[in-house]
Symmetry: C2
């Protein structure tokens, strides 16, 4: 029985999350029951949605129980199996959580999915060809539904979702303008990710300034927006939205710490006859195969080249996660565990 390091949610944040909310423990992996699989995690995915689950309040997912392993997506390798469908050596994606090993019921629907590490690197199944990629795909194709030539915007542009979004949107003939924090990310957005323009929200730190920057970068207005952040970014987008613009609401990261984040002028949703729709990609599993197929093809073709921020060892996860909430990551945030 290998020893298994785990990170538990020890207590809930009062306002901003801190490293003290987490606790690292070491336990034995239990013996497998019939039908179970032991997975050794190679990578743990860190994602903004985890912050929402740390709250006790009504959130858009079951809240993370106290004293239990933090939930999270993982990719790894089957090291022991008592299930006919999974063989030792299989590479699998699942929701293994913030730990080095997980014991998984192989029959639970969607619990484990075997992936092919020869198609794309294993870590990509947690990013561009995984949940973040499908998130971008869903918001773009199911909510924004763009026409060629339309102008789309996306916040957190250089993150895992944003970089998949621009590749998917460019493939549909759209003009894509990113919003990101800092000149380095903006340069990366235009030079590497093929954004048509990128606005540094740190250089445009209030509604008026960001709105003017959007006006300059989107002379034909905004037809669709993918919201990863919330706050004044969304306010600024509403000011530049065209009639019948659509907004896919995927993240309100700035609000997770509990600050009130009002929308200054919601009447613009009416004035512009907009559709604003929130979604959680895990509620639309039937669309994942179609989305993953397109995402893998874009990676293979080289038009989707994911950038990753990788820290080493499970103990690094809390600080990496807190950095992600503050925008310190650059690309998909992962923790490497082997």
């Amino acid at each position: 029985m290998p020893r298994n390091q785990q990170i538990l949610l020890d207590n809930r944040p009062r306002d901003a999350a801190t490293a003290e909310n987490f606790r690292l423990v070491t336990v034995d992996t239990p013996p497998l029951a019939e039908g179970q699989v032991l997975v050794r995690h190679h990578y743990l995915s860190l994602d903004p949605y985890m912050r929402g689950r740390m709250n006790d309040s009504k959130s858009y997912a079951a809240c993370q129980p106290l004293g239990e392993v933090m939930l999270g997506g993982t990719v790894g390798e089957v090291v022991e199996s008592r299930h006919a469908r999974f063989k030792v050596g299989d590479k699998v994606v699942g929701m293994g959580g913030w730990q080095e090993y997980s014991v998984v019921d192989g029959d639970a629907p969607g619990a484990l999915r075997v992936v092919d590490a020869s198609v794309v690197p294993l870590s990509y199944y947690l990013g561009a060809v995984g949940m973040p990629g499908v998130t971008a795909w869903y918001g773009l194709t199911q909510i924004i539904e763009p026409q060629p030539g339309q102008t789309l915007t996306v916040s957190a542009a250089t993150g895992a979702v944003g970089s998949a979004f621009v590749a998917l949107a460019k493939a549909r003939g759209c003009r894509v303008v990113g919003i990101a924090g800092g000149p380095e990310k903006c340069r990366y957005a235009t030079e590497e990710l093929r954004f048509d323009a990128c606005i540094d929200h740190r250089a445009h730190g209030d509604l008026k300034a960001l709105s003017q920057a959007l006006k300059a970068a989107c002379p034909d207005g905004i037809d669709g927006h993918f919201e990863n952040v919330g706050g004044y970014v969304l306010d600024a987008v509403l000011l530049r939205a065209n009639p019948f613009a659509r907004v896919a609401l995927c993240g309100m990261i700035a609000g997770y710490d509990g600050q009130p984040l009002p929308l200054v002028n919601p009447a613009l949703m009416l004035i512009n006859r907009m559709r604003v729709e929130g979604f959680i990609v895990s509620e639309h599993m039937q669309l994942w195969p179609q989305a993953l197929k397109e995402l893998a093809a874009l990676v293979t073709a080289g038009t989707l080249r994911p950038r990753e921020s990788i820290t080493q060892g499970l103990a690094s996860a809390p600080e990496a996660f807190l950095g992600l909430l503050r925008g310190r990551n650059f690309g998909k945030q992962l923790v490497q565990l082997v």
Copy 2:
């Protein structure tokens, strides 16, 4: 040539609209050109959307030009015709504006529609079987798309739109809770309009109080909301919304006077995976025949019994309109002109 009283937009409101924004003038009706029709208006419709058009700012319709007749829906009778399709005596609905007569190009698409005064009273074509009724129908059927047994809410519940909304929603097996101003309107909502419950927002004048009242009136949460008002009503609804709830944004009347009306917690749109969509019913003319047919059938069956607030004479229009903006009307606001 009959003399024609008109009300012009004289100047734009600085904040709240006032009677001084309007000017009453009397002119001669011009002689008809070939293809034109002279309509004598029986009723002028007063509607909240008119306030938005009085502003110079970007609004959800072309702004009302200064020095010209206020735009508005009218129903009346053809008194002179140089168009083959319209006969003297025909009853017609159109956008004749705030005046006693209008000269209409009979060939302009949608300019005039002949109606049958023997089916429902003429004034109803400006309310239950007209634009407000179709507005309720569109929001309900095209955005909220309710299932039988679901709980729906509507603000300005006893107005022209609200009273059509409840009739249409009850016909679809929904539970419908109204929000209206004052005990008299609430009593009317439940006793006459068949609302399952009605909340007096004057007795619940802040977000917390209204949210608690909604919780009591909607024990199963809110599945769909039709927003005629905006402001803290929408905030309170978001707090009680079920997952996948839909909101049809039709009016943000409280914001027309220019006060900022923020949405306190827009993240709830994401948390509840909601769809919030604004619309203008005149942009969906292809659906009007279907909607009007259902509305007329409900009136004929007696399940939609419109209440009207009627003032006499064109000069009464400005004060009646300002009262409408302040919720002083009770039912569809009309001005009788003959």
